[in-house]
Structures are given as structure tokens and as C-alpha cells.
């Protein structure tokens, strides 16, 4: 990096990008109002002001606590968060309209809740930056993180607070609030994976037998990956959560590979994944059904019921075409769960291929910035953690967008920062805070050379 760029304060660039992001979010909000009510929505200024205040706060926290962090990450997630808010608001209006027409009670709007959760997310973001002054201290909590992560994963299985929604037991309900602990578990487990692998990487990298030109690990070292595999399968079996199961195992294998630099782990991971998939497919009707829907979404037996959601999403994206119907001018509300799992279909319908590709590229930028942080940071724990955080975003986006666009079978996951849902939003804001914390360390200029040792007086040691 040239000294000139070094000198430039990344926070100033960030501020410019941030203004741009908030501007786009406000334009999206205005566009919804114009399309549906024919007028700029009354709450426009309050909305824009609120966003500016929140994201400004995040920006100031970065200035104060992570001044050297990557300048692109915050504006990127701000953009996605803002577009998500506009789309959820737009779907709220459609739901309200339909409820009125059917003479039903108008459901409570999701967008204000999402805005509140955004605020909580930003507060957590700031809190992470304030409390975690150096990402390396997280390494101390490796095993605490493991326990916490497993605990969070198991919470929904507990009686009373555990709740099954739409067949998946991934929710807990406490005092009227429902929460998906899996989202937070993702974060905590990433800390555990990173801490654990940093310690064990040398052992796990030891070569065992050499088969077909690939060094296989020693059989006794297979323990951890088998445990991760088993835990993922357990999530699938007991919580019926295909997406989370896939996400955890994928994250672990990727981090294992980065830590050990051994390709054999990828092959073993792939083998375990395939056998696990096959096992799940043979054992569980709901997995077979997902595959059947994926392969034959338009088949008579599926279309009216099982594959309705997928097919309606595809119709929506097809109708949107290249430029989209325009915000507020399509019918994304036809697709069930358009605000959460299927918000990508809503984006595809109203913002078109153009909007969807732009969005995917913003995600790609976030992931690449994260991976670049991993490359740049000097300590192994930081590298692993940053890689895990970035890869988890990539994998999650791939699994949910690929599912909705029928690239792969559909597994329910939220789209980070975009989907409606407090747990996901808050956890992802914390994730970005951690990434920025590592990035700050990675990009911090080397400390000015301490007064030269040459000039220091040498002590004469008397023998």
C-alpha cells in the first residue's frame, strides 16, 4: 500500500459511502410511497433521520474505537439493511391492504419492529466495538464459547420456551418475544472454532497415510470433524433445520481447511456431507420432499401445496424480468414468507435482475472485504475468525438465494441484514462489528519504530 493511501483516513471514505447508502434506502422508501399511495410518505424525514442517526452512531463508534477498520463494510450492510426495511415496509402495506379488503384485522406492521431491531443491532455493534478492544481476548473464551454455542443451539429443544414454527423447532419464546438462538449460536461457535483450531491446527495438520497423492489425517484426529458432523445432523434431526445444519458444518469444514491447509479435510468434509445428506434423504420425509420440490416444482403433485412458495417466488422473479416491476408495483406479497426467507424473490420481482445482481454483488463485496481482513491480519486466531465470519455470510447467502432461485434445494435461512427477523439482524450486526474489530487490527499502521536500539546505551554485563 502506498503511503499516500495509508495517510488517508478510511473513516472519511466510509462517511461518503454511508451518506450514499442512507440516500438509497430513503429513495427506496420514497419510491414505495409514491407507487402505493402516490405521494412521498409522511414519515419520510423521520425515517431518513432515524437511519442517519443510527448508522451515524455506528460510524462514530468506528471513528472512536476502530479508526483503521475497513471503510466499505459498514456502508455495505447499511445499504442492505435499508433496502430490507423499505421492502418490508412495502410488504406491510400490501398485507394491510389485503387484510382490509378481506375485512380482517390488519396485522401489526413488521417494518417498525425491524427498525427497532436495527437499533438494537447497532447498539450491539457499538457494544462489541467498545467491549472487545482486541479480538484476541476472545480466544480466552474458546471453551466458554463452545458451551454457550451448544447451549444456544439446544435451547429450542427445551420444553416451555422452545417453539415449533412451520415444522422447525428453532425458536424460543420468552416473555412474549421470540428469538432464534441459532443466529447467535453461529457467532459464538465461530469464536469456538477459531480458538479451537488455532490450538489444534498443528496436530490436525499432521499427515497420516498418503492415498492417491493426498495426505490423509491420522484416524485419531478425525474426532472433531465427526463431532461437528454429528452435531449438524442432530440439528437437522431434532430441530428440522436444514439450513442451519448445512451452515454449521460448512463453516467448520472451511475453517478446518484454512487452519490446517490440508485439502484432505475438504474431501473428508465433502464425503461426510454427502453421506449425511444421503442419510437424511433416506430417513426423513421432509428432506425427500424438499428434493422432490427442487427437482419438480411445477409438477401437479407439488404445485398447489408443497412447492407453492418456491413456484410463486419463481413466477415473481420471472415477472420482474431484467428491470423489475418497480418497488410497490409488483405482487411480491403473493409469496408466503416474503419478508423473511423469500425476501430475495420480492427483490427480484420489484427491483428485477438488475437490483438482485446489485444486491448479490454488495454481499460479495462484504465477503471479500472480510476475507481480505483475514489475509491481512497477523495473528492466526484473527485470521481464522475473520475467515469464518466472512465465509458464514457467503454460505448463508448462497444457501438461501440458491434455494429461492432453485439452484439448490430450498432450506430455510434468513438473508443476512435483509430479511425480517430480530435474531438474525442483531446477530449479523454483531458479526460485522467483530469483522471490523479484526479489520482495525489488520489495517492499523505499524507502530512508529521505538527509539532505535542502536542509540540506547548498552549495559555491560559483567561476567
Amino acid at each position: 500500500m502506498t503511503p499516500g493511501l495509508r495517510d488517508r483516513n478510511p473513516r472519511n471514505a466510509e462517511l461518503v459511502l454511508l451518506v450514499f447508502s442512507v440516500g438509497i434506502a430513503m429513495a427506496a422508501y420514497a419510491s414505495v410511497g409514491l407507487a402505493i399511495d402516490g405521494a412521498i410518505p409522511a414519515g419520510m424525514l423521520g425515517y431518513g433521520g432515524g437511519l442517519a442517526l443510527l448508522f451515524g452512531l455506528a460510524h462514530l463508534a468506528l471513528r472512536r474505537f476502530a479508526p483503521d477498520a475497513d471503510p466499505v463494510l459498514l456502508p455495505a450492510v447499511t445499504l442492505i439493511n435499508g433496502i430490507g426495511l423499505a421492502m418490508i415496509h412495502r410488504l406491510d402495506l400490501a398485507d394491510a391492504e389485503r387484510a382490509e379488503q378481506l375485512g380482517r384485522e390488519v396485522p401489526s406492521a413488521a417494518a417498525p419492529a425491524q427498525l427497532t431491531w436495527t437499533a438494537v443491532g447497532v447498539i450491539l455493534f457499538v457494544a462489541v466495538l467498545v467491549l472487545v478492544r482486541d479480538h484476541r481476548i476472545l480466544q480466552r473464551f474458546t471453551y466458554t464459547a463452545m458451551l454457550a454455542g451448544l447451549g444456544l443451539l439446544l435451547l429450542p429443544l427445551l420444553p416451555i420456551i422452545g417453539t415449533t414454527i412451520n415444522g422447525a423447532r428453532i425458536w424460543i419464546r420468552v416473555a412474549g418475544f421470540s428469538f432464534q438462538p441459532g443466529e447467535l449460536a453461529k457467532l459464538v461457535l465461530l469464536v469456538f472454532f477459531a480458538g479451537y483450531l488455532v490450538v489444534k491446527r498443528d496436530v490436525l495438520a499432521l499427515a497420516g497415510r498418503r492415498v492417491l497423492g493426498i495426505d490423509l489425517p491420522r484416524a485419531r484426529d478425525l474426532g472433531p470433524i465427526i463431532v461437528a458432523w454429528g452435531a449438524s445432523l442432530a440439528v437437522l434431526v431434532f430441530e428440522r433445520d436444514l439450513g442451519t445444519s448445512l451452515l454449521f458444518f460448512g463453516m467448520f469444514v472451511a475453517m478446518l481447511y484454512v487452519a490446517t491447509e490440508r485439502r484432505s479435510w475438504l474431501l473428508i468434509g465433502l464425503g461426510l456431507f454427502m453421506s449425511g445428506s444421503f442419510l437424511a434423504w433416506t430417513l426423513f420425509g421432509h428432506v425427500q420432499q424438499r428434493v422432490d420440490i427442487w427437482l419438480h416444482p411445477f409438477a401437479e403433485r407439488n404445485v398447489s401445496d408443497d412447492s407453492y412458495q418456491l413456484v410463486q417466488g419463481l413466477y415473481g422473479m420471472g415477472t420482474g424480468g431484467i428491470l423489475g416491476k418497480g418497488l410497490g408495483q409488483g405482487r411480491p406479497d403473493i409469496v408466503p414468507y416474503a419478508k423473511t426467507d423469500f425476501i430475495i424473490a420480492a427483490i427480484g420481482e420489484e427491483l428485477g435482475l438488475t437490483g438482485l445482481m446489485a444486491l448479490l454483488i454488495v454481499y460479495a463485496i462484504i465477503v471479500q472485504r472480510g476475507l481480505r481482513t483475514a489475509v491481512a491480519v497477523r495473528d492466526s486466531f484473527g485470521k481464522l475468525l475473520a475467515a469464518g465470519l466472512a465465509f458464514s455470510v457467503a454460505l448463508q447467502v448462497f444457501v438461501v438465494v440458491g434455494g429461492v432461485t432453485r439452484l439448490i434445494p430450498l432450506t430455510g435461512l434468513t438473508v443476512p441484514f435483509l430479511s425480517y427477523g430480530g435474531s438474525s439482524l442483531v446477530a449479523n450486526w454483531a458479526l460485522i462489528a467483530m469483522l471490523l474489530r479484526i479489520s482495525d487490527a489488520a489495517r492499523r499502521p505499524a507502530p512508529p519504530p521505538s527509539p532505535s536500539l542502536d542509540d540506547a546505551k548498552t549495559q555491560v554485563v559483567k561476567l
Binding site: Q101, G320, G321, L356, Q368, L371, F398
Partner: protein, 482 residues
């Protein structure tokens, strides 16, 4: 660890690349298929969010869209549903559309290519895109008179303008109310549709163009036309005057209706045979001419093919491969000869149009929302069914049927009416169909009519003259304004 990190970065880029490729495939390559898929509800919702153009008869809407309060902004309403149902069809969110609602959908919905420029302008001006209107050829008085005359009995009436082929009346009975199918209450629509579908009277069947019947004696017009066209018969040629015709190769015979000779104690001409509808005479003519000549003549009148009016009519049939007895029976419109009421009206119309058969059509004019004319149907000849001389002769013979023969109930004071009765046997216990086919005024025909009452519409004694001729007369009077 940086080497595997870079490989992970490449893998991640491949993942995003796959997503981008796949969205391109979905939203560019597959986009049109997905968008236009019949089960994509967005199409219907979009269609319902626009004001669909009206279907007009004599300038008055018989189908129009009215604004509603519910999710689908517009609802289709039919001013006189059952009366015009075979023409308008229905427009249902559950069952799609039928008849003109389906055939002219792109105009009515405003999606037609001819409305493209207007749509683009509307897009920019923010004007609500509206559908165009479709004006039908129907004569509201004739339509109403025919419907009222059928009075719920199973049957149908078709009236044509002989010189153009314009359909002046198309009535089916019993009918149904398309309003019950255009409701936005899908459960009610389903229930209504199921009910109509399972009704043994088949109210949703358009008997005027989509159902075929034995034409019976009305088919003698075709046989007579073939006879005259052959050059072997004149109006006053002597024909078989026996009371019955022995069917060759069989032990059965073809008796006259009353079991008497056609002209008791004398000789019968072709005109007498038509006037008194003598089966033995026409059976013999059929045998003399042969099946091929009969079929050829029938096909010139439009048998063995369909017509798009624009709804596709049922195919009227004159069978292939007939032996002698079958030929004799076919010559009097029995055996396997079948005709739609539209077909029989076309036979009369061609006779009235000096032998030239016109393509029947229902849509007069198509207009854009601003009332500018987008399309007007020009009369179109199917071809010459018979020579002008034959046509004139036949028309005069039809006049004698009404004035001196079996069609007395079709007489209109001061108008020369030509007609032909039919009482088509069904075999078994089933009652015959009562037919009447007519033309008026014969010297310069303005209307050709075909009436059928399925199984005589339930009357104890079935006769074309008693049951069908009065209906034809009422329709002719309505068109002629007398």
C-alpha cells in the same frame, strides 16, 4: 494460512458467480415463460386491476367492468347474463374465460399489440391502462324475442344476415348467468360452476354453435340443392310419388310422414316434394344422385368443417362411405347426418344470398379505449355453395313451403317468407327434434333463421311447424321490424 484463504476467496467468488448466472437464467432466459405461465396469479391480478373493456350490442354494454372495493379492483358484470351468455361467455378468476371474453381477451384486457403504443403513453402519463371494447353483430330485439320464445326449453336459435354472414341472434336455452362465475368469492364461484356443470340440462353448452343435431327434413334443402345443381332435376321435375321408398338391400322402407303418397292421385314435382316434405321422394333423389353428390353439396354449405365465429363451432357432419339405404336416409337428414343450428341457418342464408355462402361472424368492430376503431370485420365469402339460378329456384320453393305447405306458421303479413320444417327422428323412445329454417324477405333477404327445439322442447306432439316455426317467425319479425 493465506494460501487456503485465497482459495476460499476463489470458491466464494464461484458461489456468487453461480448465483448470478442462475438469476440471469431465471430472469432473462426463463422470464417470459414464468411470467406468462397460466398459473402465475400476477397475470390475473394485473388483468383485474385494469378496467376491462366492455362487450357491446347495439352500442350498449352487455358485459362491463365495475369498480369494487376488494383486492381485485374490477368485477365483471353482465347486464342480461343468460340472454347473451353463449356470446359473451364468462370471465372468472377461478375458471378463466370463455366465448368472446376469451377470444377477444387481449383487446378487452388492453394487452393486445394494437394497443401497444397507447399502453406506453399511459405508462408515462400515469393514466390507468384500460381495455378496448368489442361490438357484436347481435340484434338485441331478435336475441330477446328468440330467448323469450324458447322460454327455458332445450333448444337454440341462430339468425344470420345472409348477405354478410353477421350473426344477428345466437340463443341457447336453458342458459346460465355468467355473473355467478365472475364473482370474486372463489368458493361461491366454484360451487356455482360445479352446479352448472352437473346440471343434466347442460346450461353452459352453447347449443347454437357447439352442439349438433339430426337436421331431419330441413336437410332436404341441401338434397334439393344437389338435385338442381346436378342438372338432372328442375323445379317441376317429376319425383317418386310413392307413399314409401323400399330401401334397397334391406327389408325396411322409408315412409312419408303421413303414410300417404306425396301428391295423392297424381304426379309430384320436386317443388311438391319439398312443400310437403316427402321422404320417399327425397330418399329416391338421394339414391339417384348418390352419396358423393350429396356430400359434396353439403360440404359446399359448410358441413364437415368448423367455423370460427370467432368461437370455433362444432363440426356439422355428412358421413363418408354410405351404402344405398344409408344414402337414402341421409338425403332426408337422418342416419348419421348432424348439423348445428348455425349450419342450418347458413344453408338458408346461402340460398338467400344467391348461392354465395358467407363466413359467419359475431364481432362487428373492435375499438380502442378512446373509441377509435382498431378493427372492423369485413364480410368474407366462403364460396359459392350453389349457382344463383339454383338459389333463386330454391328460395321460391321455400316460399311455397310457407305459403302452401308444411311451414304455414312462419307466415308474416306482407312479407314473402321462405322456410322448411323439420321433425328429426331420434330412434327409440326419444322424441324428435323440431326444426325450422327460414328466410325473409325472399326477394331481398335480410335474415336467415334456424330454430331447433331439442326433443320438441318437451311438447307431447312434435312438429317443426307447430313448435319451431312460430319462433322463427318472431325472430324474423324482430329483425325486419314488423
Amino acid at each position: 494460512m493465506n494460501a487456503p484463504l485465497r482459495r476460499v476467496a476463489v470458491a466464494v467468488m464461484v458461489m456468487f458467480g453461480l448465483l448470478l448466472l442462475n438469476t440471469n437464467y431465471l430472469q432473462v432466459v426463463r422470464a417470459a415463460d414464468l411470467r406468462d405461465d397460466a398459473s402465475n396469479p400476477r397475470l390475473i391480478l394485473e388483468e383485474y386491476s385494469r378496467e376491462r373493456g366492455p362487450i357491446l350490442v347495439d352500442g350498449k354494454p352487455i358485459a362491463a367492468s365495475v369498480e369494487t372495493e376488494d383486492r381485485l379492483k374490477y368485477k365483471r358484470e353482465y347486464a342480461e347474463g343468460p340472454l347473451y351468455a353463449p356470446a359473451t361467455g364468462f370471465y372468472s378468476i377461478v375458471y378463466g374465460a370463455s366465448a368472446i371474453e376469451a377470444e377477444s381477451n387481449s383487446i378487452l384486457a388492453g394487452t393486445d399489440d394494437s394497443l401497444f403504443v397507447r399502453r406506453v403513453i399511459d405508462q408515462f402519463t400515469g393514466e390507468q391502462v384500460k381495455g378496448g371494447s368489442v361490438q357484436l353483430t347481435l340484434n338485441p330485439r331478435a336475441q330477446k324475442v328468440a330467448f323469450d320464445a324458447l322460454d327455458g326449453r332445450k333448444g337454440a336459435v341462430v339468425a344470420l344476415d345472409p348477405s354478410t354472414g353477421a350473426i344477428l341472434a345466437m340463443v341457447t336455452s336453458p342458459s346460465y348467468d355468467p355473473n355467478v362465475l365472475s364473482s370474486h368469492d372463489t368458493a361461491a364461484v366454484r360451487a356455482a360452476f360445479e352446479g352448472l356443470n352437473s346440471d343434466p340440462a347442460k346450461p353452459m353448452l352453447d347449443r347454437s354453435t357447439k352442439e349438433t343435431f339430426f337436421p331431419g327434413s330441413t336437410f332436404k334443402l341441401v338434397t334439393a340443392a344437389a338435385a338442381l345443381e346436378s342438372g338432372r332435376f328442375q323445379r317441376n321435375s317429376e319425383v317418386n310419388n310413392a307413399a314409401q321408398l323400399d330401401l334397397p338391400q334391406t327389408s325396411s322402407n322409408l315412409p312419408n310422414f303421413d303414410g300417404q303418397p306425396c301428391q295423392p292421385g297424381g304426379r309430384a314435382t320436386l317443388e311438391d316434394a319439398l312443400k310437403r316434405s316427402c321422404n320417399a321422394a327425397f330418399g329416391q333423389i338421394g339414391l339417384d344422385l348418390g352419396a358423393d353428390a350429396l356430400r359434396e353439396q353439403a360440404e359446399k354449405f359448410g358441413f364437415n368443417r368448423t367455423f370460427d365465429v370467432p368461437m370455433t363451432s362444432a363440426r356439422s357432419l355428412f358421413p363418408a362411405e354410405l351404402n344405398a339405404p344409408q344414402t337414402a336416409q341421409s338425403a332426408i337428414g337422418q342416419f348419421d347426418v348432424r348439423a348445428t343450428p348455425l349450419q342450418m341457418a347458413m344453408v338458408a342464408a346461402a340460398i338467400g344470398n344467391r348461392g354465395v355462402l358467407m363466413n359467419p361472424f359475431l364481432v362487428q368492430e373492435v375499438r380502442a379505449p378512446d373509441l377509435s376503431v382498431l378493427d372492423r370485420t369485413d364480410p368474407d365469402e366462403v364460396g359459392e355453395a350453389i349457382s344463383p339460378q339454383t338459389a333463386d329456384t330454391l328460395a321460391e320453393m321455400m316460399v311455397t313451403v310457407v305459403e302452401e305447405g308444411t311451414g304455414s306458421n312462419a307466415r308474416i303479413d306482407g312479407v314473402r317468407v321462405g322456410g322448411k320444417t323439420g321433425t328429426a327422428q331420434q330412434g327409440g323412445d326419444r322424441k324428435p327434434h323440431a326444426w325450422f329454417v327460414s328466410l325473409a324477405p325472399v326477394d331481398d333477404p335480410l335474415v336467415a333463421v334456424a330454430v331447433v327445439l331439442e326433443n320438441g322442447g318437451g311438447a307431447p306432439e312434435v312438429s317443426g311447424n307447430e313448435l319451431a316455426a312460430p319462433i322463427a317467425r318472431a325472430v324474423m319479425r324482430a329483425v325486419l321490424g314488423r
